[in-house]
Amino acid sequence: MKDYDIIQHITGRSLFIDDIIVPEGTLYAKVFYSKCAHGKILSLDLTEAYSIKGVIKIFTYKDIPGINQIGGIVRDECLLAENEVHYIGMPVALVIAESRFIASEASKKILIKYEGLPVITDPREAFALGHLSIPPRIFESGNVEDVWDKCDIIESGKCESGGQEHLYLETQGALSCPLEGGSIKVISSTQGPSAVQKVVSEVLGISKNKIEVEVTRLGGGFGGKEDQASPWAALSALAAFLLNKPVKLILSRHDDMIMTGKRNPYSSDFKIGLNSEGLILAYEVTFYQNSGASADLSPAILDRSLFHCTNSYYIPNVKATGYCCRTNLAPNTAFRGFGGPQGMFVIESAVYIAAVKMNIAPDIIQRKNLLKEDDHFHYGQKAVNVMTGISWDKAEKDFELPEVINKIRQFNSVNSLSKKGYAYMPICFGIAFTTTRMNQANALVNVYTDGSVGFSTAAVEMGQGVNAKIREVISRVFSVSHDKIKNEPTNTTRSANTSPTAASSGADMNCNAVLIACNNILGRLLNSAADDLSLKNSIGLFIKDEKVFLNENDTGLSWDTIVENAYSKRISLCDYAHYSTPELFFDRDSNKGNPFRYHVYGTAFIEVTVDCLRGIYKIDSVKAVHDFGHSLNPVIDLGQAEGALMQGLGWMTIEEIMHDKKGKLLTDLLSTYKVPDLHFTPAEVNIQFLDKPNPVGIFNSKAIGEPPLMYGIGAYFAIMNAVREFNTDAAPEFSAPFTPEKVLLKLYENTFAEEALSTAVNNSDNKSK
């Protein structure tokens, strides 16, 4: 696979926003943000900042010609703070200067005074005060209240999952250039060009047709640039529009980490009821979602937690409640999995504690309750082409898991310094935007008279290989080689009113739109060829390896000639097509319907070793059987699966977001926020392709972006098992990430070592950093 993009990347020629050669006279912006998590702005003094040579202008909310409002789902978010600040990192002013350095120096000279207001960082505390961004959401099936009495085992508990920094290697940024007639072009690092267009339009008070948003590629997105690329684009556009000069705004890593939201942390309560056989009869869960200071995408994220709260299991009675709790943290946002991982971690915790109570391995409960064909999800959708049991059994057989588990037991019986643990992790993830109207995409396909092909779609390339997959579709329909096909940047003048590239659906929807356009063009070309061949119609004509065949016979016509002939006959070589995902509906009152086009399944087995002396651990292996459908591009799909898995493992283990009580982010640099590195990668990552066709997928394929992330959840339970091998008195606890700190404290919970410590002299006046 010699893909265009990868060749640019490996030679260092790919242009990201900060690499684009800027027009002469470009100015540079720096965001001045709140250092107070909640307060009234008493004064804002720009005098000293203005005294620095090279400062052009400092904008505040008062300069906004349109409306100072960027909230997507709920209209609750200012672009620039007015009289109050709601989190540390909230943009207050925008400094424009001749260089990035000057802008940065000047922003340090802005003087601001606040009157502090109470700071809330905990979602349960926000809930108690009634600080909800939307009314509570409740998904229900059966009736849990009727069933508790019939359960032999009932376990309830609490479960916490932490936030997660996207850490796209390319920080947020935009370059805005004024065009003639009051129009503006915004080059943005966004997953949602149309979302940027909407926000810029509202902030500037000009119509959308005057705003051109372009995206060539992103240096990683992972959801972090779905909605949260918009403020930076809008700020640079605001300055460019008002100053009539190009303005570039690139966030430093530190600013990016402080100002942008992360994966929503959740605090949850669960109650699970099973019969003595281990069959789950009822499950009740309440999610307290930490949405941060404004709703952003949190309501939609919360819905996905509710959809996926039963993971891969069939549970007849479910009650799931979600609260979108407003706190004084940067607004949390989309992150690969979009609430699914948070929901699944809770049910897995519930299953684990039930297994501990029943004194059986959790996988016995997991396997017994896996979804079966035609089971109904608690939101009413029927499960079809279910791959849960198939993937589980194949993993067990192909990886010889009973033998692996025996070896783990043997290891533990002879080793005292380190212990191994394992866990199974089945997944089930629905594909589609759960907001039905977002399931649409469009594509422009141009065939040029020399036979080369160009395309432009709603899809944004961020490393997930969507353009390569589109090229594969075009290549299959037109039978031309990949090097004849070129993608154009995503641009709102070519693809208007688009949904963001998100929800794992970018390839599905945009490939389908491209497929329609290609089939339209091919239909015209074959009709034209039939005419050239003096046939009545094109029945029996097809194209293979750039040659036109009639039934099995080579007609002598080639791709290039039919293209050229069609042009001469004034037949269009271009097509624009629109695709809307069929058969989707969802009633938001009853919370029932058919929200997903299909589901992605799979099963992983995770093995870890815990160093019981030091509390550090190593994920030894992840083996998975994943439901790829018939992959459109196995190299890309494997890369997506491996990459998503690692983000899931990171979320469960070492990626820890910490705030102090005043709402200040403590993990605000790469030196304090740690993502998996090379050494963290398990020695064995073995992901097998289940390779069963997906009848409703493009060429029988399945979406891949998000689902494998959730295999990472198994790491939590594998580590817990290893810890409990060492310390049988350690009580299971569900608080991700399971950092080395938590592991060590758990290893020595209720032991002499812990007691000895509590008597240690404590004089914590001194610093230690």
């Binding site: 990868i6 030679t11 242009l15 990683g220 030091r614 509390g615 090379l678 700190e741 404290l745 001194n766």
Partner: protein, 475 residues
């Protein structure tokens, strides 16, 4: 302020008047060489990695550096290789690049140039290739998309494919050019560097600079903007050609020795045969290539890894000012948080410790949130002289548990003259708890740091004397 800086940038000689504190990444990007990316500007992601070649005793030595932390003054007279310098023949990919295509080892592409450059640097190591693990060369590069699996496969394929590369560096250069791993101009680099006619001299050390700049790996993380307007004296690799040597019963290590110099030193390897077991825990390859011992000690961070190492060896530091010198025990060097006894005009010349006279043991422990490429939550080093299980002499240092790097004097004192057994170590751990005062921060809570240090003290003994103490006796 500006100074003349000359170096070879890929195949082109550069001669510019620059603020010497401009970091190389900013300079490169201002020249429209945008292959090196700004991912974090603190040496933690590797997206800006470039290769730096310098003539040392007429030998061309290549190493990777984080261009975001290297001031241009430190590349004066060097050969800088960026991703753009690997494909001067635009149509042909190098095998390193091709390996990424085959394995799909690049997704969004932002980190990719850094990986390609770092992997290419593996082939340019002055050591024999078979002595090196190619993965170590990318331990300072972080990829958020791939999860590294495909990159590890690509790197493994490369190591296997070219395992027959010549050991001799000059012969290897021809081999690498032949295999298209590097362009042909590399064969002329030595000549071209000599043509620059750079004489590297010590800056005048009596001019009382605001800062002495070694490798820059701490200063340019902490205060890059301040550096641009400060008076600086650049002292990287400029005084002692032999940075680590034996002298009169001492092992002396020049303050300008990098962590890599120390780890590669024959003398250090002889003294600490197990050093490879924990050397990878210090920073990353490009950081180790630049971070100096003097910088690590003078930064006075309570969690400096090299500081903990030398503290346990009961080292002295030798400070000089003009013609006078003084010797201070490292134990007494740190006065409070990030403060040392060094006065502004003084420069740290070298660090020395007594060569062991009897049977000794050494161990280093470090735990951080991420095992590699992370700053310690707690670190500790132990030096011990013993006969049978009787301790004649012992020094234990600990980092991350006090406002300064901590020599655990009470603990060491207690253990001297004791036999190694569980009861003794348990008491030592208790005493250690009385002489530390960790604080809760992003690296861990106070109670965690206390527990961790106690476990790491046990770890020293369980690792060195497994027959005398077991983990079961510690809980």
């Amino acid at each position: 302020m500006n100074q003349n800086i000359s170096f070879l940038l890929n195949n082109t000689a550069v001669n510019s008047e620059l603020n010497p504190a401009t970091v190389t990444l900013d300079f490169l990007r201002s020249c429209k060489l945008t292959g090196a990316k700004e991912g974090c500007k603190e040496g933690d992601c590797g997206a800006c990695t470039v290769i730096c070649g310098s003539l040392e005793n007429d030998k061309l030595i290549y190493r990777t550096v984080n261009s975001c932390l290297v001031p241009v003054m430190n590349i004066h007279g060097s050969h800088i290789v960026t991703i753009e310098g690997l494909n001067l023949n635009k149509s042909q990919l190098s095998p390193v690049q091709s390996s990424f295509v085959i394995e799909g080892a690049s997704q969004c592409g932002f980190c990719t140039p850094g990986f390609i450059v770092s992997l290419t640097a593996y082939f340019l190591t002055s050591d024999k290739l078979k002595n090196k693990n190619i993965l170590d060369f990318i331990d300072g590069n972080v990829c958020r998309c791939t999860g590294h699996s495909s990159i590890i496969r690509a790197a493994g394929n490369l190591q296997n494919e070219f395992e027959n590369a010549p050991d001799d560096f000059d012969k290897r250069l021809f081999y690498l050019v032949d295999k298209n791993i590097i362009p042909e101009y590399f064969l002329k680099v030595k000549e071209k560097l000599n043509d620059l006619h750079i004489v590297l001299t010590d800056s005048n050390i009596s001019d009382m600079p605001d800062y002495y700049v070694g490798g820059g790996t701490d200063l340019f993380v902490q205060k890059p903007d301040e550096m641009l307007s400060s008076s600086l004296s650049f002292i990287f690799k400029k005084n002692n050609p032999d940075t680590i040597y034996e002298d009169d019963g001492f092992c002396c290590v020049s303050a300008s020795a990098t962590v890599t110099d120390i780890l590669d030193s024959v003398l250090i390897k002889k003294l600490f045969p197990d050093i490879n077991g924990f050397s990878e825990l210090f920073g990353s390859t490009p950081i180790r290539n630049n971070a100096t011992l003097g910088g690590n000690i003078n930064n006075a961070s309570p969690i400096g890894d090299m500081t903990a190492f030398f503290l346990s060896l009961d080292s002295d530091v030798i400070l000089s000012e003009n013609t006078s010198e003084r010797t201070v025990s490292l134990k007494d060097y740190f006065v409070s948080y990030k403060k040392t006894v060094r006065s502004r005009g003084e420069i740290l010349k070298y660090v020395r410790f007594k060569l062991p006279q009897s049977k000794y043991f050494f161990n280093f422990e470090k735990v951080s949130k991420r095992t590699y490429l992370d700053i310690a939550t707690v670190n500790t080093a132990l030096y011990l002289e013993s006969e049978n299980d009787y301790i004649n002499k012992i020094n234990i240092s600990a980092g991350g548990v006090f406002e300064t790097p901590k020599f655990l004097s009470l603990t060491s004192e207690y253990l001297t003259g004791k036999n190694i057994n569980a009861a003794t170590i348990r008491e030592a751990v208790r005493i250690a708890g009385t002489e530390i005062s960790p604080i809760s921060d992003a690296r861990g809570s106070e109670s965690y740091k206390r527990l961790l240090l106690s476990r790491l003290i046990y770890a020293h003994f369980i690792k060195l004397f497994p027959e005398l103490i077991s983990i079961k006796e510690t809980v």
